[in-house]
C-alpha cells in the first residue's frame, strides 16, 4: 500500500514541479507552437527546402558557371532550327531555345521567382490586413457605426471574390500592361480578400474574449484595444495564410506567364517565364519545361508544408 501511495505522491510532485517550471518560464503561444513545429517532420522538410531555395536565390547568382543571358549556343552555332542540345558535362541542363545555359538560368531564376512570390504576397498582405483590420476592429468594437464601416468594406471584398482568382489577375494585368510589376500586383491582389476575411473573422472572435472586456472596463481606449490587444492576438492565422500564399503566388505567376501576361522581358530568368517559354519546344526538348516545373513544385511544396505545419502548431485545439 505504502509503495503505491508513495508512487502516486511522487507522480503528483513531479507534475507540480513541471507545472511550476512552465509557469516560471511563461510558455507563450508562439514558443509553444515553435516547440511543436520542431517536432513535426513535415515542418522540418519544408524548412529545409525553403532554406536551400533562399540560399540559392541569395548566393547562387555569384556561383553560376555562365551568364544567364549569354546566348552562347547561338554564337557557337550549336542551336539550329529544331535542334537544342541537351545536357553535357559543360552544360548540365543543356541549352535553351536561345542558346543560353539552362543550369545558370535555373539558379539565377530562383532569385527572381522568390522576389515575385514575396513581393506579391506582401502586397496582398498589406492591403488585406489594412482592410480586414479596419473591418474587424469596426465590427468587433465599433457599435452601430462600426458595423456600417465593416459591411461596406466587406461588400468591396465580396466584389473581389465575385471573380475567379485567375480572371481577377487577368483583369488587373490587362489594365496595367505586361510587366514584372504587373505580375506582382495582379497576383498580390488576388490574395487580398483571403487575408482581409481571415483577419476580420479572427479579430471579431477575439473581440468577444474576456481580456477585451477587462480592458474595456478598465477604460482603455477602443483604438488602443484594437491595435495593442486584439490585432496581435488575431495575426496567427494570417501569418499561416501568408506562408501558404507564397506557394500559390509562385504558381499563379507561372500561370500568368503561360497566358502571355507575364514579364515580356524573358532575358531575366524566372521559373514561371521559363516554363511558359518552354511550351513551344515540348516536342524537341521537354526537359526545358520539366526543370522549371519541378523547381516550382518543390518550392511550392516547401511553403505549403511549412504553412500547414504552422497551422497545426498554432491550433489552440491541439495545445496541451
Amino acid at each position: 500500500m505504502t509503495t503505491i501511495g508513495g508512487k502516486k505522491r511522487e507522480k503528483i510532485d513531479r507534475l507540480a514541479e513541471l507545472a511550476a517550471r512552465d509557469e516560471e518560464r511563461g510558455v507563450s503561444l508562439w514558443q509553444d507552437a515553435f516547440r511543436r513545429l520542431r517536432r513535426n517532420p513535415a515542418a522540418i522538410i519544408g524548412a529545409v527546402i525553403l532554406t536551400v531555395f533562399v540560399l540559392v536565390a541569395l548566393i547562387g547568382p555569384f556561383l553560376v558557371p555562365y551568364g544567364p543571358t549569354d546566348t552562347m549556343g547561338i554564337r557557337e552555332g550549336v542551336i539550329k532550327p529544331g535542334v537544342i542540345p541537351g545536357s553535357s558535362s559543360e552544360h548540365w541542363f543543356g541549352y535553351d531555345h536561345q542558346g543560353r545555359d539552362v543550369f545558370s538560368r535555373m539558379i539565377v531564376g530562383a532569385r527572381q521567382t522568390l522576389l515575385v512570390g514575396v513581393v506579391a504576397t506582401l502586397i496582398g498582405l498589406a492591403v488585406g490586413v489594412l482592410i480586414g483590420g479596419v473591418a474587424g476592429a469596426a465590427a468587433g468594437l465599433g457599435g452601430r457605426w462600426g458595423r456600417w464601416v465593416d459591411s461596406t468594406l466587406m461588400r468591396f471584398i465580396d466584389m473581389l471574390l465575385a471573380l475567379p482568382s485567375l480572371l481577377l489577375a487577368v483583369s488587373i494585368a490587362a489594365l496595367l500592361g505586361p510587366s514584372l510589376t504587373t505580375v506582382m500586383i495582379a497576383v498580390g491582389m488576388v490574395s487580398v480578400p483571403v487575408f482581409a476575411r481571415l483577419l476580420r473573422g479572427s479579430m471579431i472572435a477575439q473581440s468577444n474574449s474576456d481580456y477585451v472586456l477587462a480592458a474595456t472596463s478598465l477604460g482603455v481606449r477602443k483604438s488602443k484595444i484594437a491595435l495593442a490587444h486584439v490585432l496581435p492576438n488575431s495575426l496567427a492565422p494570417v501569418i499561416v495564410q501568408a506562408t501558404l500564399t507564397l506557394a500559390t503566388a509562385i504558381i499563379e505567376a507561372a500561370a500568368l506567364s503561360f497566358l502571355g501576361l507575364g514579364n515580356p522581358d524573358s532575358a531575366t530568368p524566372e521559373w514561371g517565364v521559363m516554363l511558359a517559354d518552354a511550351q513551344q519546344y515540348l516536342g524537341i526538348r521537354p526537359e526545358l519545361a520539366i526543370y522549371p516545373a519541378v523547381a516550382i513544385i518543390i518550392t511550392a511544396l516547401g511553403f505549403t508544408l511549412l504553412g500547414e505545419s504552422m497551422r497545426e502548431a498554432l491550433d489552440p485545439k491541439l495545445r496541451k
Binding site: 482568382s165 489594365l175 519545361a289 513544385i297 505549403t304
Partner: protein
C-alpha cells in the same frame, strides 16, 4: 426558406452594382480607352473621334454609366474584334463546353475526393492516409497547365488512349441541339458521338480536377477526424447504434458541411483552371477563347466574359449557400 432565398438575392444587388462600377472604370482605364477596346489598335484618329461621339464619351459620366448598365442588363456586350460576332453569341456557343468540362471535373473531384478523404480519416496514420495526404499536397503544388501537358504527353501522344485536342471528332458529323455535346449525343441516340465527346473530356477534366480533388480530400479528412471526436458520435455508439448508421447519419452528414462550402468556392477556381486546361487541349470552351482574347487584346470579349462569369460565379455560390442551409438546419435559423 423562401425568405432566406429572397434575402440572399437582395444581397446580390450591391455586389453586382459595385462590380458594374469596377468594370466601368476598368473599361475606361484600359490602355487606349474604350475606343481602342472597340477598334483594336488599328483605328485612325477620325474613326476614334467618331466612335467617341457615337458612344457618347463626351457626355457626363453618370449618363455614360447609366447607358453602360442598360447595355449590361440587355446583355448587349458588343462585338468581338477577332471574330466580328456578338460577344453574347460567342459566349453562349462556348459556355456549354466549359460547363461539361467543369461538371466532369467536379464529378471526378467529389467522387474520388470524398471517399478517399473519409477512408484516410478512418485509417489515420496508416499507408492510405499518408499516401492521400502526400498526393493531395502535390496536387495543390503542381501548376495546372503543366499537369495538363504531362497528361496529354503520356495518355494521348504516347499511349494514344484519349484524343489530344478538341471537343469531338468533327468527322463523326454529330447533330447539334444544345451544344452540350454529350447530352446531344444521348438525346439523338448517336451513341458514338456521345462516347467520343466523353473521351475528349477525360484528360482536360482530370487536369482540371487536380486542385479541387486535393482540397476536397484534405477538407473531408480533417472534417471527418474532427467529427469522429465529437461527443454525439460517442453517444450514438454508446446507445448501441450500428456502425453503419453512426457513419451515415452522424459522422458523414456532419462532416459534409465544410466540404459542401468548399465545393462552391472551388467551382470558381475551376473557371480559372478552365482557362489553362482548355488552352492546352484546344478545347473550345470559354476558357480557351478568353486566353485567345488576352493574346489578341480583344477587350469587348474580355470584359463581357468577365462580367458574365462574375454573375454566374455569384449565382453558383448562392446555390451552394442554399444547399448548405438544406444540410445544416442551424444556418436556416439565422
Amino acid at each position: 426558406m423562401f425568405r432566406f432565398i429572397v434575402r440572399r438575392l437582395l444581397q446580390l444587388i450591391p455586389t453586382l452594382f459595385g462590380l458594374s462600377i469596377l468594370l466601368f472604370i476598368w473599361l475606361r482605364r484600359l490602355p487606349g480607352g474604350p475606343e481602342t477596346a472597340i477598334l483594336g489598335e488599328r483605328g485612325t484618329p477620325e474613326m476614334r473621334a467618331a466612335i467617341r461621339r457615337n458612344l457618347g464619351l463626351d457626355e457626363p459620366i453618370l449618363i455614360q454609366y447609366g447607358r453602360f448598365v442598360r447595355r449590361m442588363i440587355r446583355l448587349d456586350l458588343g462585338t468581338s474584334i477577332s471574330t466580328k460576332r456578338e460577344v453574347t453569341t460567342e459566349f453562349l456557343q462556348r459556355f456549354p463546353g466549359t460547363v461539361e468540362l467543369t461538371i466532369t471535373a467536379m464529378v471526378i473531384a467529389v467522387g474520388i475526393g470524398i471517399p478517399l478523404g473519409y477512408l484516410a480519416a478512418r485509417r489515420r496514420g496508416r499507408f492510405l492516409d499518408h499516401a492521400s495526404v502526400g498526393g493531395s499536397l502535390i496536387g495543390i503544388c503542381i501548376p495546372v497547365f503543366f499537369l495538363a501537358y504531362i497528361l496529354k504527353a503520356i495518355f494521348s501522344e504516347n499511349l494514344g488512349w484519349f484524343p489530344s485536342s478538341g471537343r469531338q471528332d468533327p468527322t463523326i458529323g454529330a447533330t447539334r441541339i444544345t451544344n452540350f455535346f454529350v447530352l446531344d449525343g444521348l438525346m439523338t441516340r448517336e451513341w458514338d458521338a456521345a462516347a467520343d465527346a466523353l473521351m475528349h473530356l477525360v484528360l482536360p477534366a482530370l487536369a482540371l480536377a487536380s486542385i479541387p480533388l486535393a482540397i476536397i480530400v484534405r477538407i473531408t479528412r480533417a472534417s471527418v477526424l474532427e467529427v469522429l471526436n465529437e461527443d454525439f458520435v460517442r453517444t450514438a455508439e454508446a446507445k448501441g447504434l450500428t456502425e453503419n448508421v453512426v457513419r451515415r447519419r452522424h459522422v458523414l452528414r456532419n462532416a459534409m458541411l465544410p466540404v459542401v462550402t468548399s465545393i462552391g468556392l472551388l467551382t470558381g477556381g475551376l473557371l480559372s483552371g478552365a482557362v489553362l486546361t482548355e488552352t492546352v487541349f484546344a478545347f473550345s470552351g470559354i476558357g480557351a477563347f478568353l486566353a485567345d482574347s488576352i493574346n489578341q487584346r480583344d477587350y469587348p470579349v474580355l470584359m463581357g466574359f468577365i462580367m458574365i462569369i462574375a454573375v454566374v460565379y455569384v449565382l453558383v455560390n448562392l446555390i451552394v449557400d442554399l444547399s448548405y442551409s438544406l444540410i445544416d438546419p442551424r444556418v436556416r435559423v439565422r
